[in-house]
């Protein structure tokens, strides 16, 4: 073995390395970054077509529309989170790594969130104008989607880890994950509704932040366990 | 007894249809819940007894009959498998 006695990888370095790996893979195919945003843009435009152009009615429903479509976009993207790792065999290697699988999986999920949910929340105020969301609600929309998309990505990652070894796992992912997205949707959209009505969105945003912290703490454990199980089923 | 006559029970001052519909659906579903595992258990017991008898028959049967009974058992097993 020609490797000099270099120090073994610290947890932080392994976390960063895994984060980098998923990030580079994501950036290398820009379509994966742009598609969710296009999906969000197009589905938002369906609502005025479906519900009629009356601005009064649209702006009243804008928070709900924006949040539901953001949830669907996150769901659509979650399926692909572990799919490529499962196919090219790097999931097996991940399970063999000396560092805990939950932490490495968390690194992958955060990199995936940056590429999808984070971009979505940056772009969402732009699309909010399409459905006539009052301008004073835009910052709260951004904040709620920023926090909410992280929570949705973490929960979606649990579903993705559970269904990665199933061939047509896409639809199944939605069936098992949508009930878990309900609290996030409720807190997020109510925060934006309160902001649009000049009410007090802070308490709802605080609840959303609490959900984010809970998911950050608990979801990786479930993701780690689910990945090991999916490997056995593959 | 709160109700004085049978018709009052059925009518329940206008709400009878809803109450009896709810109870009917619940009783049907509950009985299905109780009935399906016992049917499954009986079906599997019959299969096991049949397979035991077939295995006993095939041990003292001639080789030619052997392959035939073996083949019958595997198709039978496949059929059970799809249901099982």
């Amino acid at each position: 073995m020609s490797v000099p006695d270099s120090d073994s990888l610290s947890l932080g370095a392994a976390f960063y390395r895994q984060f980098l790996r998923h990030g580079k893979a994501l950036i290398s195919s820009p379509a994966d970054l742009v598609n969710p945003l296009l999906f969000f843009f197009m589905v938002i435009t369906l609502f005025p077509l479906g519900l009629g152009p009356d601005p009064e009615r649209l702006s009243q429903m804008a928070p709900g529309i924006l949040w539901v479509v953001a949830l669907l976009a996150s769901l659509m993207v979650s399926g692909k989170l572990f799919a490529s790792d499962f196919e090219d065999g790097s999931l097996e290697q991940l399970c063999l790594a000396p560092q805990p699988l939950a932490i490495l999986a968390l690194a992958e999920v955060l990199a995936h969130w940056l590429g999808t949910g984070f971009l979505l929340s940056m772009v969402s105020p732009l699309f909010a104008v399409l459905v006539g969301l009052p301008t004073q609600a835009l910052p709260v929309l951004f904040m709620s989607l920023l926090l909410g998309s992280l929570c949705l990505t973490l929960i979606g990652a649990v579903g993705s880890a559970l269904t990665v070894s199933i061939r047509r796992g896409g639809v199944l992912l939605s069936v098992i994950i949508i009930p878990l997205h309900v609290p996030v949707l409720l807190f997020g959209s109510t925060a934006v509704v309160e902001a649009a009505r000049d009410g007090n969105p802070v308490s709802w945003l605080a609840l959303l932040a609490a959900l984010v912290l809970m998911s950050l703490a608990l979801a990786p454990l479930a993701i780690g366990a689910a990945l090991r199980i999916s490997l056995d089923n593959g | 007894m709160y109700f004085d006559s049978l018709t009052a029970v059925a009518h329940m001052d206008g709400h009878g249809i809803y109450v009896w519909l709810a109870y009917a659906i619940t009783m049907v579903l509950l009985s299905w819940l109780l009935w399906s595992p016992s049917r499954e258990l009986r079906k599997r017991k019959l299969w096991i007894v049949a397979e035991a008898r077939r295995r006993a028959a095939s041990t003292n049967a001639t080789p030619e009959a052997e392959t035939q009974s073996e083949q019958a058992m595997s198709t039978d097993r496949a059929q059970m498998e799809t249901q099982g």
């Binding site: 073995m1 390395r17 196919e87 290697q93 991940l94 399970c95 063999l96 790594a97 490495l104 090991r228 | -």
Partner: protein, 198 residues
């Protein structure tokens, strides 16, 4: 001091049991080849010994050293270059410098391909990038599942040399392969057909 101890290992697939009663102890400097017909469960066993499969595996397996597993799939991201793939490899247990990677790629005769995305390489070349990991890891226990497939004569010869070198340095290698024993007397064989459960 044995690097790998496996006692009474049984492998199941679905509720059908494939292998039973396998006991194995691999000492430092030993080379084991798992032999057996197709479908007897060679891959399942080597994955179980490497710690990849837990469901459907009974008996206790304990490894007292870091393990490196190379299976059929190359575990490489098609969009990344060989250098990025080797530097950020999920199971890589040591910090790997750029010159070590260059050395490894040079050793598998992929010198000019550092910046070509792995997706653009041929299957044989991708296999060699995956095998380059053997040079970049401190793991003393190697589990190689069909390592010689999709390798040309030169690749096989390189791999044999790496395995021999790893053995001398006190490592241990388990591998599955169809070809007959390539290392002659030096190699222990584990014939799985003896352990097939009825």
């Amino acid at each position: 001091m044995s690097l790998l101890d496996a006692k009474d290992v049984a492998i199941e697939r679905g509720d059908r049991s494939l292998l039973r009663g396998i006991s194995l102890s691999v000492e430092a400097g030993e080379l084991w080849q798992l032999i057996g017909p197709n479908g007897v469960g060679k891959s399942s066993l080597i994955r179980a010994l490497a710690g990849l499969a837990r469901l459907g595996v009974d008996g206790d397996i304990c490894r007292s050293a870091a393990a490196l597993y190379i299976g059929h799939s190359s575990a490489l991201k098609r969009a990344l270059t060989p250098v990025d793939n080797l530097r950020c490899h999920p199971a890589c247990d040591v910090t790997v410098g750029d010159e070590q990677i260059a050395q490894a790629l040079q050793s598998v005769s992929l010198a000019g391909y550092e910046s070509v995305p792995v997706g653009a390489l041929s299957a044989g070349q991708q296999r060699r990038v995956a095998l380059a990991r053997l040079l970049l890891s401190d793991a003393r226990l190697w589990f190689l599942d069909e390592p010689f497939t999709a390798l040309d004569a030169m690749g096989c010869e390189w791999l044999e040399q790496q395995i021999a070198e790893h053995i001398q340095l006190g490592g241990a290698v388990l591998f599955t392969s169809h070809q007959q024993s390539r290392f002659g007397a030096q190699q222990h064989n584990l014939d799985l057909s003896l352990y097939v459960s009825a």
